[in-house]
């Protein structure tokens, strides 16, 4: 075997075990569509979502938990199909698992302390997770999306923007648009 052949073997093997960004794009797209649809439904039909004291809480907890179960299942199946887990993919997985945990904690703390929906805190954690992911996978659209989401959250301090509309704007900039661009992104060798 010549040196060139050995280098080609190494190169080809590394290329065949690179990180696929499509599943992450699908996850962002799924959550973007889900949260925007939920926010718009809540905004236009408040009487349906808030028919009792706890119905809005159940609405905002039960559906995302079902979404979590679905995406975890999707990611496990995708992982099995791929047959390997890259270090990069592992780091991104840990970031999103931490965000999921922080989401659950925010909801639990707000219920225990009897405070209003922790929308700002959750969106801010989401913005951090997006910026970190974008920087790690070197995909500018996600980093910019995270920064825009943080900007939307920051701006909410002064104007009286409805939380649900803020969710729609923030998630559209932070997840939906970057998700579409990542999902349709053509990975090159």
């Amino acid at each position: 075997m010549t040196k060139e052949e050995q280098i080609k073997i190494i190169n080809d093997a590394i290329i065949q075990t690179k990180t696929s960004l499509k599943p992450l794009g699908y996850n962002l797209l799924f959550w973007g569509i889900l949260i925007i649809s939920m926010s718009l439904f809540h905004y236009f039909f408040p009487e349906l979502v808030q028919f009792s004291n706890y119905s809005a809480l159940v609405y905002w907890v039960a559906i995302p938990v079902i979404g979590m179960v679905y995406t975890i299942n999707y990611n496990i199946k995708t992982g099995h199909k791929t047959g390997y887990e890259t270090q990069l993919g592992r780091v991104v997985k840990i970031i999103w698992a931490t965000f999921g945990l922080s989401w659950l904690l925010h909801v639990a703390i707000s219920v225990i302390k009897g405070i209003n929906a922790p929308t700002l805190e959750i969106l801010f954690s989401l913005a951090i997770a997006l910026v970190m992911t974008g920087l790690i996978i070197k995909f500018k659209n996600i980093t910019i999306g995270g920064l825009l989401l943080a900007f939307v959250v920051y701006n909410h301090v002064s104007p009286g923007l409805n939380f649900l509309l803020m969710n729609v704007y923030g998630i559209a900039f932070g997840m939906l648009i970057p998700g579409i661009s990542l999902y349709t992104f053509k990975e090159t060798k």
Binding site: M1, K3, E4, E5, Q6, I7, I9, I10, D12, A13, I14, Q16, T17, K18, H80, T82, G83, Y84, E85, T86, Q87, L88, R90
Partner: protein, 89 residues
């Protein structure tokens, strides 16, 4: 040069495991384009030399072999690659 890595199948295995935290047998078979028996032999040799670690489990009731590179394996590959590049010059 490391004689263990001069074998193309073993070199493919180690190169595949470089950037991953774990990789299953089927994917390695695809990358190395070798038979199950041959791949098993080469994996065993790498494991005996402590270049890789192998763990066996069950996935959906099917046995699953998962491999990952060890620190020694990464170090040996790095040395191998450096010597390869220096010989190329």
């Amino acid at each position: 040069m490391d004689k263990l890595l001069l074998n193309p199948i073993r070199l493919k295995i180690i190169s595949s495991l470089l950037g991953v935290s774990s990789c299953d047998f089927n994917h390695l078979q695809k990358v190395t384009e070798s038979s199950k028996g041959n791949l098993s032999v080469q994996l065993k040799k790498l494991e005996e030399s402590n270049y890789i670690s192998i763990s066996k489990s069950f996935k959906n009731n099917y046995p699953n072999t998962s491999c990952s590179i060890t620190k020694l394996g990464s170090k040996r590959f790095e040395e191998f690659f450096k010597s390869l590049m220096s010989l190329r010059k």
